[in-house]
């Protein structure tokens, strides 16, 4: 006991040693729960590793089969990319004008609107999917009732076909995350001096022109940041389709309409027991994210130089 106390005293009183002790929990946890499984995941991806055992080294076969014989991976990539555009990137098209509206000096009670738009962000995915369940219900849903009775068209089977499944997931994602993006853009807008707009107004620029010439160029660093977050999150989309379409068993719902890359990874690794193939998808996903975020950076740099 006294030895332990003495040791603590030694560490505790030592100003040189203390910072290393203070950051050590991060490194210990990262080594065990981060780095080791990352390394092991690469090792796994080179073997035909299954839940019941390792069937030997296969080289890059787990990777090549994804792009050749695998019947679902291509669909998963296409779905993920479509949802990335309609679910994640589309948000910015809405969020920027919304931020401009909320930021208008005419608006009183700006913060209340901000809070209202932000509220979906703190709601869990499961709750979101359940809430929208009755909106999208085929027979008794609100949306189909409006489509049938107000628009006079035929109701849509929202979760029964590939296209409508994507529309449903996109609407969920937009509803949940637009407010978050709007707040980020709002912070950016508040950094733009109002005199710039006043000067442009004197030069005869209309509202739309002002925003095109002043707001958008000055928001580029923030657009870059928001788009980066969307790319990283969008490529790892899992919760929404998984909960909406009922988990592993449906493999992304009818026509695999909601099967994303991460969803497929989870099916292989957790349902089918194909650990090696799942790990290979994880690495492909990692490199896809690395490439698209780099491309995003390059495009942003070029735009900023202009």
């Amino acid at each position: 006991m006294t030895a332990i106390t003495r040791m603590w005293d030694k560490i505790g009183f030592n100003q040189k040693l203390a910072p290393y002790v203070f950051v050590s929990p991060f490194f210990i946890l990262f080594l065990i729960f981060g780095l080791y499984p990352i390394g092991y995941s690469f090792f796994m991806s080179l073997f035909d590793m299954r839940l019941v055992g390792n069937r030997g080294f296969v080289g890059l076969a787990n990777y090549t089969r994804l792009f050749t014989v695998d019947e679902f991976f291509g669909t998963a990539v296409i779905n993920t990319v479509i949802l990335l555009f309609t679910g994640s990137l589309l948000q910015h098209v809405f969020a920027i004008p919304m931020a401009i509206i909320v930021n208008s000096p005419r608006v009183i009670g700006r913060h209340t609107f901000k809070a209202l738009f932000f509220a979906p962000f703190i709601t869990s995915t499961v709750a979101t999917v359940i809430i929208f369940g009755m909106v999208f219900d085929h027979n008794f849903g609100l949306l189909n009732w409006i489509i049938e009775n107000v628009l006079g068209m035929e109701g849509i089977r929202w979760t029964a076909r590939s296209g409508p499944i994507k529309a449903t997931i996109s609407i969920l994602l937009n509803w949940r995350f637009i407010g978050f993006n709007m707040v980020i853009y709002l912070a950016g807008l508040q950094g733009i001096p109002r005199e710039l707009y006043e000067a442009a107004a004197i030069d005869g620029a209309g509202t739309v022109q002002q925003h095109r010439m002043i707001t958008l160029p000055l928001l580029i660093p923030i657009i870059f940041f928001g788009v980066s977050l969307s790319l990283i999150g969008g490529f790892q989309l899992f919760d929404e389709p998984f909960v909406l379409l009922g988990g592993y068993d449906t493999v992304g719902g009818p026509g695999q309409g909601g099967l994303t890359i991460a969803y497929y990874l989870m099916i292989l690794g957790f349902k089918n027991g194909r650990l090696g193939r799942g790990a290979a998808i994880a690495w492909v996903l990692f490199f896809i994210i690395l490439i698209v975020t780099t491309v995003n950076r390059l495009i942003t740099n070029r735009l900023q130089k202009k």
Binding site: K16, P19, L29, P37, I101, P120, G269, F286
Partner: protein, 284 residues
């Protein structure tokens, strides 16, 4: 005179502005309202045309069935689990991240810059990259169905350490730390008695981020806590939604009870929540 002539279009502009804001507010808030509508209808009036847009009289009945009648999920147990896991996650995360952030903010030591950059760069790894071996490891540790599987791996996380470092670097004066040293406090004493109290506002921000993340976490609880007795509210709701065919009133009542406390706290402290949950992005 000139003012008079431009006031009419100005009024139109203001009107259009508020109209679009009201429309947006409706779109964003309606699903929450609709959740309560469904939660308050009995089976008999649930499916109607035109769909229900006003409250029914069965809210209490639905809550009662959810808590006392249905046997698919132990709702109150899951609720308590979610609260406990979130609180434990927040407490441990605050401790370890403030500690790590303090070292990077207020000490000079060899390799500091490298350590800082290294910690930041670990954020680039997507969680899915190691999820399969991570899960196998948890199985090997015997941590499946134990809360520590959700709490321990992330309690000293890069984002939290970064956030606390940024906060403490500016808000804690070095002179105060030296004064504490002269008074005979050791480095742990300085951390817990000087740094912790001064870092409270930063810890508040991290607490909000961590609590919301833990409360809403689905994937982690889904794979690590498969047993219904030990799992969280999000997983229990997902199960309930999948197995209770047509019992929408009950499921929606459960959903409402699950998200209402957080929504109320959010609206009471929305400034802190919004700036906290976006702080990683806006300042970064």
């Amino acid at each position: 005179m000139k003012k008079m002539s431009i006031s009419a279009p100005e009024a139109v502009k203001t009107g259009a502005l508020y109209a679009s804001l009201a429309g947006l507010a409706f779109v964003f808030f309606f699903p929450f309202y609709y959740m309560f509508i469904i939660a308050s209808h009995p089976r008999e009036t649930m499916f109607r045309t035109p769909p229900n847009l006003w409250f029914g009289g069965a809210l209490w009945d639905n809550v009662h069935r959810l808590i006392f009648v249905q046997e698919q999920v132990p709702f109150l147990v899951n609720y308590a689990n979610s609260v406990m896991i979130a609180v434990l996650t927040v407490v441990t995360t605050l401790f370890f991240c403030t500690m790590g952030g303090f070292a990077l903010a207020k000490y000079d030591f060899r390799g500091k810059k490298f350590i800082f950059v290294f910690i930041l760069s670990t954020m680039a790894f997507p969680p899915f990259l190691n999820i399969i071996p991570f899960y196998r490891m948890m199985v090997a540790f015997g941590w499946i169905n134990r809360w520590r599987a959700l709490i321990v791996p992330g309690m000293a996380n890069a984002m939290g350490i970064f956030l606390m470092r940024q906060y403490m670097e500016e808000s804690i004066p070095n002179a105060l730390l030296d004064a504490a040293r002269i008074d005979g406090l050791n480095e742990f004493g300085i951390l817990t008695r000087v740094a912790f109290p001064l870092a409270k506002p930063g810890m508040g921000v991290l607490a909000i981020i961590t609590f919301v993340g833990s409360w809403n976490n689905f994937l982690g609880a889904f794979i690590l806590l498969p047993r219904l007795q030990s799992t969280t509210l999000t997983v229990a709701l997902n199960t309930l939604n999948a197995v209770s065919f047509g019992e929408f009133g009950m499921v929606y009542a459960g959903t409402a009870i699950a998200i209402l406390p957080l929504l109320v706290i959010f609206f009471l402290a929305s400034r802190q929540f919004i700036s906290g949950l976006t702080s990683g992005s806006v300042k970064g």
